[in-house]
Subunit: 499 residues, 2 copies
C-alpha cells in the first residue's frame, strides 16, 4: 500500500453564515500560508496537498490537488480549522462542508471488474489508472469513508495481482509412522455404525463408540494441557451477534461461510396461527410464509469460538498480576457452511472444538504458545503416535477477514497442525494455534492497569479432526491403537445393534 | 372430539372415460346397495352416509349427506371402488373425482375468530354451527386433508371452550429446607462477576466460578445417574432440520418460540463481495441486503434435545435383547425465543442441558422412569438439599405441539420438577422427566424384532435451572452450601479481577 502513487483532486465548499467577500484578503492569507505549511505537514519535501484555485462569496470554494501524504479530504479538514479561526474574528461562521467533486486516481496495470461500492459515484479505468469519483458529504469525510474506500480498492488491486498470497511454511515434521489403515475413515465409521448422517448438510450423529473416543481425546487434553498449564473452564455463548463480529473483524468477510440466525418477528401465537394451521392440514412446512415472519438475522452460529468470550472483558481494565489468563470452552458446537462435496468427518458443517484462550503481555503470550506447542507435540508423538507436521501460515484472523500474507509483527500468526491421510495421500489441518497480538484487546477495548500492551492467543482443538486424523492412520480396531489411547479408552461401549 | 355431532354434505362427480347412460341401471343398483351396506359400515344403527340424489351422463354425479361415522368424502371413495367394479364390465373407466360442493357442519356455542386455513373456501357461523365450505380435489381427499381440517377446527373450538387445559397435579413435595439466601440469584451473580450478559437476548457468558458449579452438577449426574443406571454418551446434532420436527410433532407449533437457521444462498465469494465492501467502507452490516442473499430456513436451533438423536435409529428394526437403550447427550446448547422480561439465568434463550433418552418396552420405560425418580430424589434431598416438588403435568411433547390435557395412556406423561425461589416466593420448573409412550418410535419408524410395542422416555437436566434453584435457596457463598456439593466443588477458581 505504501508504494501506491495515489493522486487526489477535490472541489469543496465551506458554507458560511453570511457573505464572506469582506474577508477575502484574510482567506487569501490563510490559503497562501496553508499551501506552505499545514498542507505540507507530514509529507516529504515536494509532497502534500495544494489549493490550486479558490474563491469567496456566499461560500468559500477550494480546489485541492494532493498526493497520498496529505490526502485532499484531510487537507479540507485542516483548512476548515484554519479558516474557522480567521473568520471568527469577523463573526463569520462555517456552517458545513460540501464536496462538489472528488476524484481519486489509483495507478494499476489492469482494470478491476465492475464493483458496487457505497459512496462511489463512478469508477473508470484510463491510461493505467483507476479514476474513482466519490459522492461524499461532510459526515463521510469526518468518519474516514474515503480512506476505507482507498484501502478497499488497493487491497483488490493487490489481490488481483498477487492472489490471496496464502502463506505456508513448514516448521516441523514428524517421522513417518506405522500406518495401520489405508481406507477412508468416514466410510469405515459409517459401515460400523459408529456415525450416521444427521438431518442437515455436513452433520453427523455420533454413536456411543466414537463418542467415547472423542471424550477420551478431551480427557487427554485435560490431563496433558488444561491441568498442567493452569486452565480454567468458562462457557462461551454460541449464537454470535453482529456486534461481536464487528469487533473481531469477522464482519469483513464471514458472509459466504456462516449460518445465519433469525428470531421470529413476534412470539405472539396468533401471528403464527395460520402457519401452524397450514402445517396441520397439509403436513408441509410453508417456508415462503415463514420467511416473511422471521426477522433479519441477529448474527450467526459460532464460527470462530473465542470472539464471544471477549464480551466478558469488554471495556474493562485488568490488573497486571492476574496475567496470564488461561481459560477454555467446550460447551457447544461450531458451524460453517463448508464448500466441496461430501468430506465426511474431515470437513463438517457442524463440529466440536475445545477452544483455549490465553491473555497476557506479549512475552507471556509468546512463552505460553511455546509451552502449548510442547504439550501438543507430546500428545501427537507419544500418545496418539500420529504422522503430522506444523506450518506457519496466514493468521487465521487475517484469513477469515479475507486477507493473505503474514502479520506485521513476526511473533503474531498461526501455526496449522496437519496430519497425513493415507487414503487420500493428502495432509489435513486438524488444529491450529495462534498468537493474535493486540487484535482482540484492541477490538474489545480491554486495557492493562500498567498501560502495557495486552496480547492474546488462542488454539482450537477440533475433536472430529483429531478423530479423522487418528482413524485415517490407525483405523477403528482398538487393538491397533497405541497403548496411551487404548489404556484411556478402556472398552468401547456396544449399545446398538440393527437387523 | 368423539362427542361432536358433525354433518357432511358433498356433491361430487366421477369423471368417466365415455358416456355412462347405458350403465344407468347398474349404477342405480350400486347406489341402492351402497345406501344399505357399504355407506353404513362401521356406523351405529341409523348412522352413516347416504346418497340422496344422483345422475349419470358424461359423469356420475352423487350428492351425499352423512354424519361423523362415515364421512361423506370417505363415502365418495367407497362408492368409487364399487362403481369401478361394475363399470369395468362395460369398459367404462373412472378417470377422476371432482368435488363440486363440500360443506361440513360443526356445532359450537360460539363462532371462532376469522381464520385462514388451506382448502377452506368459506367459513360461516349460523344458528349454533360452523359451516365449513371446502375447496378440495381428489388428491386432498386421498391424503385426508378434510379430516385434518376437522381435527383442527374441533381443537380450536375445544381450546376456545376450555382454554389450554394445562394439567398440574402435585405428586410429592419435600419438607421446608433451610434457606440461606433471599436475593435474586441472577443479580448476585452479576454483582460478583460470575456471569455477564452476552451479545444476544437471554444469553449469558459464564465465568470460571459458575462454570465450576455447573460442571460439578454434571459430575453429580455422572456419579449418581449415568454410571449407576448404565448410560452411554452420544453426540446429538444441534441444528435441527424441518424433517426431524415433522416426525417429532414440533412442526405443529414450534414457530413462535424457535430460532431459525438460514444458510447463505451460495458460498461463492463474488456473490457476497458487495456486502463485504459495504461493511468495509461503512462499518455497518447491511442487514437488508443480507436478508435477500440468505436461503429459506433449513430448520432451527436445538429446541427439545432428543428429537435429532432419533435419526440414528430411523427406519431400523432393533433386536429385543439390546433393550433398554440408555444414552445421553451434553454436547451443546439449546435455544428458545423466550417471552417475558429479563429473567436472568432462570429463563434463558440459550442454555445447556444434559438430555437422557431411554428406549425399551412399555414396562422397561415405566420401570426406568421410577429408578430415575429415585436417583433425582437422592440428589435433590441428600446432595443439594433443595426445597422442591414434583408434579404430573401436560406431557411436554403435547404442550410443545400446542395441546393441553393428558395423554390417553396413564403411564405416558411428564413430571415437572419445581424448586421454591425464596426471592420471588414462586416455584420454578428446573427439570422434567417424561414417558413419551410410542410417540418417537412411531414418528421415526423404529420397530422391535419381536413386533412388541416400543416406547421411549427422556429427561432434560437444565444446568442453569439447577444453578438458579440452588443459588436462590443457598446463595453464592460456598461456606453455606451443603457438604455434598462443597466437597465436590473443592475450590472456586479466581481467574479475573477488574478495576
Amino acid at each position: 500500500m505504501n508504494e501506491v502513487k495515489l493522486r487526489f483532486h477535490l472541489i469543496g465548499r465551506f458554507k458560511l453564515s453570511k457573505n464572506g467577500a469582506e474577508a477575502k484578503d484574510d482567506v487569501a492569507g490563510v490559503i497562501d500560508d496553508a499551501n506552505k505549511n499545514i498542507l505540507k505537514k507530514g509529507a516529504p519535501e515536494g509532497g502534500g496537498a495544494e489549493v490550486v484555485s479558490w474563491n469567496v462569496d456566499d461560500t468559500i470554494m477550494v480546489e485541492i490537488k494532493s498526493d497520498r501524504y496529505v490526502r485532499a479530504h484531510d487537507a479540507l479538514l485542516r483548512l476548515r480549522k484554519a479558516l474557522t479561526r480567521i473568520l471568527g474574528k469577523r463573526r463569520i461562521g462555517i456552517r458545513g462542508i460540501e464536496v462538489e467533486k472528488f476524484i481519486i486516481t489509483i495507478p494499476t496495470e489492469k482494470p478491476l471488474r465492475k464493483l458496487k461500492i457505497p459512496f462511489v459515484k463512478d469508477m473508470q479505468y484510463k491510461n493505467g489508472n483507476i479514476l474513482l469519483e466519490l459522492d461524499v458529504a461532510e459526515p463521510q469525510i469526518e468518519s474516514r469513508v474515503p480512506d476505507r474506500i482507498i484501502t478497499l480498492i488497493v487491497d483488490k488491486i493487490e489481490s488481483q495481482k498477487y492472489g490471496k498470497k496464502e502463506h505456508w511454511e513448514l516448521l516441523w515434521e514428524s517421522k513417518e509412522k506405522t500406518l495401520r489403515f489405508t481406507g477412508d475413515p468416514t466410510q469405515e465409521l459409517i459401515k460400523r455404525r459408529w456415525i450416521k448422517h444427521g438431518s442437515c448438510r455436513g452433520q453427523w450423529i455420533f454413536g456411543p463408540q466414537i463418542t467415547k473416543v472423542l471424550r477420551t481425546f478431551e480427557q487427554i487434553v485435560e490431563e496433558e494441557i488444561l491441568r498442567p498449564l493452569g486452565y480454567h473452564e468458562m462457557v462461551f455463548p454460541k449464537v454470535v451477534a453482529w456486534d461481536v463480529w464487528k469487533r473481531s473483524g469477522h464482519a469483513k468477510a464471514i458472509y459466504p461461510e456462516m449460518y445465519y440466525v433469525c428470531p421470529p418477528k413476534t412470539r405472539d401465537e396468533t401471528y403464527w396461527e395460520d402457519i401452524m394451521d397450514y402445517y396441520k392440514v397439509t403436513l408441509e412446512v410453508p417456508l415462503d410464509m415463514i420467511k416473511e415472519r422471521i426477522d433479519k438475522p441477529i448474527g450467526g452460529l459460532c464460527y470462530a469460538q473465542c470472539p464471544p468470550a471477549w464480551g466478558f472483558l469488554e471495556g474493562e481494565t485488568l490488573p497486571d498480576d492476574i496475567l496470564p489468563i488461561r481459560v477454555f470452552d467446550k460447551s457447544g458446537t461450531s458451524h460453517r457452511y463448508e464448500s466441496g462435496g461430501i468430506r465426511g468427518i474431515e470437513r463438517m458443517d457442524e463440529f466440536h472444538r475445545i477452544e483455549l484462550l490465553w491473555i497476557g503481555t506479549p512475552e507471556q503470550i509468546t512463552e505460553h504458545s511455546k509451552k502449548l506447542q510442547e504439550r501438543y507435540k507430546h500428545i501427537f508423538e507419544n500418545i496418539l503416535d500420529l504422522q503430522w507436521r506444523m506450518a506457519w501460515v496466514t493468521p487465521w484472523f487475517m484469513a477469515q477477514e479475507g486477507l493473505g500474507g503474514l502479520a506485521e509483527k513476526k511473533e503474531v500468526g498461526t501455526i496449522d497442525y496437519e496430519a497425513f491421510m493415507p487414503y487420500s495421500k493428502k495432509w489435513m489441518e486438524f488444529q491450529n494455534l495462534s498468537n493474535n497480538g493486540d487484535k482482540y484487546p484492541n477490538g474489545f477495548n480491554v486495557k492493562l492497569q500498567s498501560g502495557e500492551e495486552l496480547w492474546s492467543g488462542c488454539s482450537g482443538i477440533g475433536l472430529e479432526r483429531w478423530a479423522a486424523a487418528f482413524f485415517a492412520q490407525k483405523g477403528l480396531d482398538a487393538g491397533d491403537w497405541p497403548s496411551g489411547l487404548r489404556r484411556r479408552v478402556k472398552t468401547l461401549p456396544e449399545v446398538f445393534r440393527f437387523l
